[in-house]
């Protein structure tokens, strides 16, 4: 019986070895060698060249800003939703996943129509005699695209963490004389930390590494580190340089993984 059950783990173990572990090793192999196959650190130190460093700095800046905006928008929303005591937990999740059934690229492109000089939003603003906004093809439009695309990934872990908080704990704090502000900062916020950490990494990593949002909303002039890597692979065919730059990106991702492992041991802040 036990031997049979051990055998059950074989398909997935094999699958993750071939399609998760080995591919990651391939990135390190390509990133640490040159075209002749000799060991080199050049592909990694290439991040320090002016063009690449600028792309990385801009990526970090934009993704930090969008993560912060997502957090500030999502936390109150998740609190309201968690307090609504909706009978169907899955219904809330559904509302946020539903937009994904409209293609991600089309949804992002729709923002062009909304944001353009004579677009929908500016027509409304003109009608209301308000000043127009001209953010299309600027970093601001990229931030908006990031917030739009990744907001659900912040809301869902926060909502999950907040709706798991025992109401009695909150009531106990109130009974003991804590006002709203104290209850929030001493009870609710600390108990939602797993959700916060999970939400931050679910937004920060895709925002840091995106190349689609920047090429759709930022015009073609703004290069993020994701665009640079994409170009190395699809246009320049310089897989070694592309892999080397990806290794640099992976440092940020690994830092993120460590943070979630430390703060969210039980997987309480998971998305589902």
């Amino acid at each position: 019986m036990t031997s049979k059950r051990k055998w059950l783990s074989a398909p997935y173990t094999l699958w993750s070895l071939v399609f998760i572990i080995i591919p990651l090793c391939m990135i390190f192999y390509y990133g640490l060698t040159d075209k002749t196959g000799a060991f080199t650190l050049e592909n990694i130190t290439a991040i320090a060249t002016a063009e690449h460093a600028r792309a990385l700095r801009l990526s970090i800046l934009l993704s930090l800003i969008s993560t912060l905006i997502c957090f500030l928008l999502a936390y109150p929303l998740a609190m309201i939703l968690a307090n609504m005591k909706v009978s169907q937990h899955s219904f809330i999740i559904l509302i946020f996943i539903l937009p994904m059934w409209m293609n991600f690229l089309l949804r992002t492109l729709a923002w062009q129509t909304l944001l353009e000089k004579s677009g929908v939003i500016n027509s409304i603003l003109t009608f209301l005699h308000l000043p127009n906004i001209n953010i299309i093809n600027t970093p601001y439009a990229i931030i908006l695209g990031m917030v739009y695309n990744f907001l659900p990934f912040m809301v869902l872990p926060l909502y999950n963490a907040l709706s798991k908080i025992d109401e009695n704990v909150v009531n106990a704090a109130r009974d003991l004389g804590a006002d709203n502000l104290h209850t929030f900062f001493r009870i609710i916020l600390p108990l939602s930390v797993p959700g916060i950490i999970s939400g931050i990494s679910m937004v920060f990593v895709p925002a840091l590494t995106t190349f689609v949002i920047s090429s759709l909303l930022g015009g073609s002039k703004i290069l993020l580190i994701g665009n640079v890597i994409d170009q190395e692979f699809t246009q320049a065919s310089n897989w070694h340089l592309g892999s080397g730059l990806s290794i640099v990106l992976m440092l940020f991702i690994i830092l993120n993984m460590i943070a979630s492992a430390v703060f969210d041991k039980e997987g309480e802040g998971s998305m589902l």
């Binding site: 997935y12 993750s16 739009y148």
Partner: protein, 257 residues
């Protein structure tokens, strides 16, 4: 007053999330070919969609990959959950750590890592490589939805079934499986949705000449998106919405009866 503020806040967030979707739906009825101006109401893009072989082929590929990858991922993921449930805590932690890699890793890194794997081992790029990649990033969604259900399971029930003479396979399908079903179903749906909406990983693992809807849209961006594409996505979205409303309405009816 406070309730009104809360409702307004929720409404604004939903406006933000659904405004682009409404825009695309409006564009699908726009008679003018450019998305910049409104040229009157028309159904012609819906009519032309049926004759656009390129888009229909991409749709076929997208649905085929989404269905196959989510079914295969569901089977592998569910079996993996059963196996992991019986593992020592340490081995299980390692396995869950590996499961989290595709979830936490950036899509672009996952995409190029698979691309390098396929190149190095001489795979022929095409539907097959897209399928393998989609299964890979779908399995974690299944495991993460089934695992919590697995932990709630009472092992004595399974043993009781064995004591009563059921074979292990029968005991699994008659006793354990029904309890896991909600987790398996939501994992499957999540996997299907993720596969359908994926662009980045498909972008790196597809071959020349093979397109899914996402990669087709990406190549069309510079030339201008064909309005038929808006029509198609409106149909897909409306169909899913109708299906979900139907599914959500069904349990209530049952309770009333």
């Amino acid at each position: 007053m406070r309730n009104a503020v809360k409702k307004l806040y929720i409404a604004l967030i939903f406006l933000f999330l659904y405004a682009p979707i409404a825009t695309l739906m409006v564009l699908s009825f726009n008679a003018s070919k450019t998305r910049a101006k409104w040229g009157g109401f028309t159904f012609k893009w819906y009519a032309q969609l049926v004759h656009n072989d390129d888009i229909l082929r991409a749709l076929g590929n997208t649905l085929l990959i989404a269905l196959l990858s989510s079914v295969i991922a569901t089977v592998i993921g569910t079996i993996a959950c059963i196996a992991m449930n019986n593992m020592k805590k340490r081995t299980r932690t390692i396995m869950m750590g590996i499961t989290n890699i595709p979830m936490l890793n950036a899509d672009i890194v996952t995409g190029i890592s698979l691309m390098l794997l396929f190149i190095s081992f001489g795979f022929r790029f095409g539907l097959g490589t897209i399928l393998l990649s989609h299964i890979t990033f779908n399995i974690p969604y299944v495991i993460l939805s089934v695992m919590p259900r697995m932990k709630q399971l009472n092992p004595s029930i399974y043993e009781a079934a064995l004591d009563l003479g059921a074979t292990p396979v029968a005991a699994f399908f008659r006793v354990v499986f029904p309890d896991l079903m909600p987790g398996i179903l939501s994992g499957f749906l999540m996997a299907f949705t993720m596969s359908l909406d994926d662009f980045i990983i498909t972008h790196f693992t597809k071959g020349a000449g093979v397109d899914t809807l996402s990669t087709k849209i990406y190549t069309e961006v510079r030339k201008g998106i064909k309005p038929e594409m808006y029509a198609l996505s409106t149909i897909i979205f409306a169909a899913v919405l109708a299906l979900l409303l139907l599914v959500n309405a069904a349990p209530e009816k049952r309770e009333k009866n």
